[in-house]
Point group: C2
Chain length 336, copies 2
DNA sequence: GTGAAAGCGCTAACAC
DNA sequence: GTGTTAGCGCTTTCAC
């Protein structure tokens, strides 16, 4: 700030060469004579020179930065996806600028605007909602890939998702195989992902001839949502022996509701979640779940984006990864 | 990218005015005649003009950006601190650029370098380790505040922390008040924060005349660490009736170890953690803990940083917040 | 191999 | 009020 940082010019002066040679030395060391190179480097070190990204981006007309919008930083799965994104992005010589979304659509669109003003070369959006400001990106402004939003396809964006319908079926099938028939579903609300999971649940129930047993209780993708929905389920006369909860966070809430209700998991009622958040693996939770390959989804998103940046005319790609069942301690064979 | 974005010049041409008037119109609308203003705005809208942050930062010689380094994005408390930081930073008209640290010190220093190259006006570091690249920041390069690292003081940086020693005493006192005497401590490793919490534990035990009962078992700030440490504790002949675990994540691991050991919480052994992570409040966990005011720590850090940016000569400040006890379901009066 | 000069998009005096 | 003119720090032809 105050003692404004040394510039390429200062380095040049100190090394007794021209600005452009310093610039060259920084980017193509092999095209500069060894002697000058060392003296330039010495000067740079002595001065504590650090390139100014703003100036370089301006001259380059590119930023080597990709923007990441995380809608729900509080859901632990976000961290895992982010880690995957970062690893891959870094490996490609880019770096990430991460902003968080929020319930406030205006704020969220503002964040996206900022990212765009910073000339990010691409955008990765992690979350279930369609961000307000994403329209701009969609309008061909900036390559964008959406993680975990299945309807992205219809908007012409690249996307990475897991097959929610198929995953939900896996959940039901697992329960079915354990002998459960009265299987309830706690929903994740009215967003696309939640709807798909519900669809998978219903489809699986139907295909097992359990149409009459279909029972959905309204929840949300939060601890609280799972808790409330499960209380509803337990209060019904249906005597569910198993519950498929829309996501892991909600499933943890479900466990609490069940305990409060005086029943045991999995002896009295089995519970299966969805997502595969690391915390579900915590020994004191031991949640059976349908796990999304979170880190690779992040990495794949980065790959897809980088490809698209390389070739903007490339048609949008949709990677739909298969989730997998992880059996832990909250599901068991039906007891009666 | 390809169809390079419209610039201020394009807007000027379309509106039939000069570049500088457009620039003025964007920043001080009231100093431009209404007629021109509207026509400029119309032109900007029509063109889909968006200011180029790189150009502006270069000309302004400031970025209105503050960099945030999060060392452990996987610890859920990070998200809460980040939220606090973001809210406050945004409210001040700045925005944040967030990068994640990692075990790899070189990568971490690289991330800090990037932030610095981007001309961030300040740095907030969230985590327990002293990042390699922080030296540069310390050398007066860039105002920096450290969250959760008590030794920051000696390095001349601003810092926000909670009083770990005092918090640990609170934990022990709570247990003591419940009648516990054989209180074990699962440590968080050898970092400063863990050491302080251990110090507080020992001090409290001493002051209660329980010096002979002091028993520390080696753990870490992770689920796994708490799990292993607790198994050690339970295997000892000390018959601990209560355990103070170095942080919440580890405490959750402790719960698992205790369950595996065939004991109940809190009937057979009480457990108290530290941090106040939101997940500890999840009903199926209900962890008693010493809660740090995470969101306000983030907000305070942002405030401190902004102040320092405003007045770089300001002496470093250290805000040491008092944590508070949150009693939930994992502690109860000693039974025998 | 090296340097001079132009320009990236924007801001900020400074004149008109 | 409004336009002109210099840069901000860096990259990049293009001659030498």
């Amino acid at each position: 700030m105050a003692p404004s940082r040394p510039t390429i010019k200062d380095v040049a002066a100190r090394a007794g060469v021209s600005k452009s040679l310093v610039s060259l030395a920084m980017r193509a060391p092999d095209r500069v004579s060894p002697a000058r190179l060392t003296s330039i480097r010495a000067a740079a070190d002595a001065l504590g020179y650090r390139p100014n990204a703003a100036a370089r981006n301006l001259a380059d007309r590119r930023s080597f930065t990709i923007g990441v919008l995380v809608q729900d930083l509080h859901n632990p799965i976000s961290a895992e996806v982010i880690a995957g994104v970062q690893r891959q992005v870094r490996a490609s010589g880019y770096h990430t600028m991460l902003v968080t979304g929020s319930a406030d659509a205006d704020l969220e669109r503002g964040e996206i605007e900022k990212l765009l003003e910073f000339q990010v070369e691409g955008l990765i959006i992690i979350g279930h909602r369609m961000p307000a400001g994403a329209r701009a990106a969609i309008d061909g402004e900036c390559p964008t890939v959406i993680i975990s939003r299945a309807e992205a396809g219809i908007m012409g964006l690249d996307s990475i998702s897991n097959d929610d319908v198929s995953g939900a079926r896996m959940a039901v099938n697992h329960l079915y195989d354990l002998g459960h028939r009265r299987i309830a579903h706690i929903t994740g609300g009215s967003n696309q992902v939640a709807l798909l999971r519900r669809t998978g649940y219903e489809a699986a129930m139907n295909s097992h001839g359990l149409t009459a047993n279909i029972a959905c209780y309204e929840g949300a993708f939060t601890d609280e949502g799972g808790y409330r929905g499960t209380h509803l389920a337990l209060a019904s006369p249906n005597e569910h022996s198993a519950i498929f909860v829309a996501n892991d966070l909600a499933a943890v809430g479900a466990l609490a509701a069940i305990a409060e209700n005086g029943r045991r998991v999995p002896e009295d009622v089995s519970v299966i979640g969805y997502d595969g958040m690391a915390l579900g693996a915590l020994r004191s939770i031991g949640l059976t779940t349908i796990a999304q390959p979170l880190a690779s989804m992040g990495a794949d998103a980065a790959d897809l984006l980088l490809q698209r940046i390389g070739d903007p005319s490339r048609p949008p790609g949709h990677v739909n990864l298969e989730p997998r069942l992880i059996t832990r301690n909250t599901t068991s064979a039906v007891s009666r």
